[in-house]
Amino acid sequence: MTLIFDHLRKQYGSHVAIDDVSTDFAPGMIHGVIGPNGAGKSTLINMTAGSYTVSAGSITLDGKRLDGKKKYEIANSGVARTYQNIRLFDQMTALENLEVCFYPTEGGGTWLEVLWPPYARVRSARRRAACMEILRFFNLEGYAGMEAGSLPYGRQRMLEIARALVMNPRVLLLDEPAAGLNHQETAELTSKLAELRSPDRIMIIVEHDMDLVMTLCDRIVVMHHGKLLFQGTPAQVQANPDVQLAYLGTSNDIDEIRNAAQNRRTELRIRARRRS
């Protein structure tokens, strides 16, 4: 059972952002989605998570249609995501950012929590323990009581991934998780993501950092002008002349891809610094 895109299409007026994309994502693997800017990578993520509607075609997860469902319903059927521009709950603490993920399953017990303190204590202790464990995995336990918005940029990226993991999602969608991170942070991220690979989990990473994609991903989907250009192992992707052409015009030098990625990384870092 897998996540399947079937003749997927996304259209804004006359502009076609995603054009007839059919592919599937097997569990137990890390799938990379790459392509030049504007290729439609983020659009794929946004359609899967329900942020964008689907113009035509379908998205199915384990045999159930995802497209057409509301965003929160998709999240509750096991699809978690991060965002290209970090979207944490800034004024809540790091711990609360994770705890709130229990609302869909435990929100119904709110009145009991309000009226019967011992029950509230037990439940909130259990929630906290589960969330602290995830924070610890990402080396964020020292930030638990700090407001998410006040965390250093790199920690915010990690916290967003941590939040996506609270409900142990079947599908984990990461939209440029390394954007704005320095080398050391990217290395840390790469090793953490590798640890998240699990037989039940479908991981999809949209990323410009070729080092990260090539070392981490088991399979890579290359997008170009909204179309699926090529899919295969990292080695196959690197050797494919179509991919090289799409990325580089005429050159076939992989170093140029890396340079392009490096430039983008610097750009995002500057943007992040300006933001904080």
Binding site: Y72, A129, A144
Partner: protein, 331 residues
């Protein structure tokens, strides 16, 4: 560092001192007020009703981040529920507690009725629509003469009582209000810290990301509207029972604005802030009564000054009831 270690961190001495001081002053005020002349007790009652209203509206504005300018409508629902069910108007004289229950349910219903159509709106748009809703309720009360007596209002409301305990004099109403305010504050404070309270905060911070982690934002917002409306409606019942008279002019737009101001000046999202905001906005006009035509000017200047020096409100969100309690009882 584990969670228990973080929460058990020693309480700073200054925090403890401030907490004890606040608590002592509050206790002293609560127990001396009933022995003061009736005028002071009436002012205290009005203050307590506004604290109750502020606590209710704060759920929507402070916790869920939805600017509701029509809150007074729910206050009116409660007041007119008492006016109609405990007066010669319809010849009905139901017991006070039963009316509180009916008004709470009607308030909740009104909250949901308002919530459903406006849930897709945010910010300015929400503010305008809720403002309209508040005015609609007032104008309806003003015009359905056969039911509400129109602008003349409903007079000679019953004296309230609970299990034979009379609730008619200002002092009796005062004690009722003290109990209701403390109970409401406790419940609302516990709601803020419940999982629903966290969901409200998430909706406030980033509605779309909240949906992304599976929060049904429609339900969370409806819960906020309904809870807040229930509290507003109960405040209305007590208001009507203490005045023993209701008329539409008590539920003008200015009342809604006043409650919003209390929250903003006191400290958004903080029950202690609401007490501070209400104290300033209700007591100051009383103190300045002698300077009648000047007091709006005083209030205006005060507001400008406060917004410059304390933009987050008099009591910031970080000094909430938890901190006060920890200062009192914490290790």
């Amino acid at each position: 560092m584990s969670v228990s270690e973080t929460s058990a961190r020693a309480v700073p001495r200054s925090n403890r001192l401030v907490s004890i001081l606040i608590f002592a002053v509050a206790l002293a005020l609560i127990f001396t007020t009933p022995f003061l002349p009736n005028y002071y007790v009436r002012v205290a009652n009005s203050l307590l009703i506004y604290i109750l209203l502020g606590t209710g509206l704060n759920i929507v504005i402070g916790y869920a981040g939805l600017l509701d300018l029509g809150f007074v409508a729910f206050y009116a629902v409660g007041a007119y529920t008492y006016g109609l069910l405990a007066s010669p108007q319809l010849g009905l004289h139901l017991p006070f507690l039963l009316i509180v229950v009916i008004a709470a349910l009607l308030g909740m219903l009104a909250g949901i009725l308002l919530g459903v159509p406006v849930l897709t709106l945010r910010g300015d748009y929400l503010a305008i629509v809720t403002l309209g809703f508040g005015e609609i309720i007032r104008i309806v009360m003003n015009n359905v003469d056969w039911l509400t007596n129109g602008p003349k209002g409903i007079a000679r409301l019953d004296k309230a009582s609970i299990f034979g305990l009379p609730l008619a004099t200002p002092v009796e109403i005062y004690w009722l209000l003290i109990v209701v305010v403390i109970l409401t504050a406790l419940i609302v404070w516990r709601m803020e810290h419940s999982i629903l309270g966290k969901a409200w905060a998430a909706v406030r911070e980033d509605q779309d990301a909240a949906r992304g982690i599976g929060i049904n934002t429609t339900n969370a917002k409806l819960a906020a509207f309904a809870t807040s409306a229930t509290i507003g409606s109960i405040a209305g019942v007590i208001f009507a029972a203490s005045q023993r008279f209701v008329s539409p002019e008590s539920f003008s737009l200015q009342e809604s604005v006043l409650i919003v101001l209390m929250i903003v000046i006191g400290g958004i999202g903080n029950i202690l802030g609401i007490v501070a905001g209400a104290a300033i906005l209700i007591l100051l006009p009383e103190v300045l009564r002698e300077f009648a035509e000047w007091r709006i000017l005083f209030l205006g200047i005060l507001m400008v000054v406060l917004i410059i020096i304390r933009p987050a409100g008099i009591v910031p969100r970080s000094f909430g009831p938890d901190k006060l309690l920890r200062g009192l009882f914490g290790k």
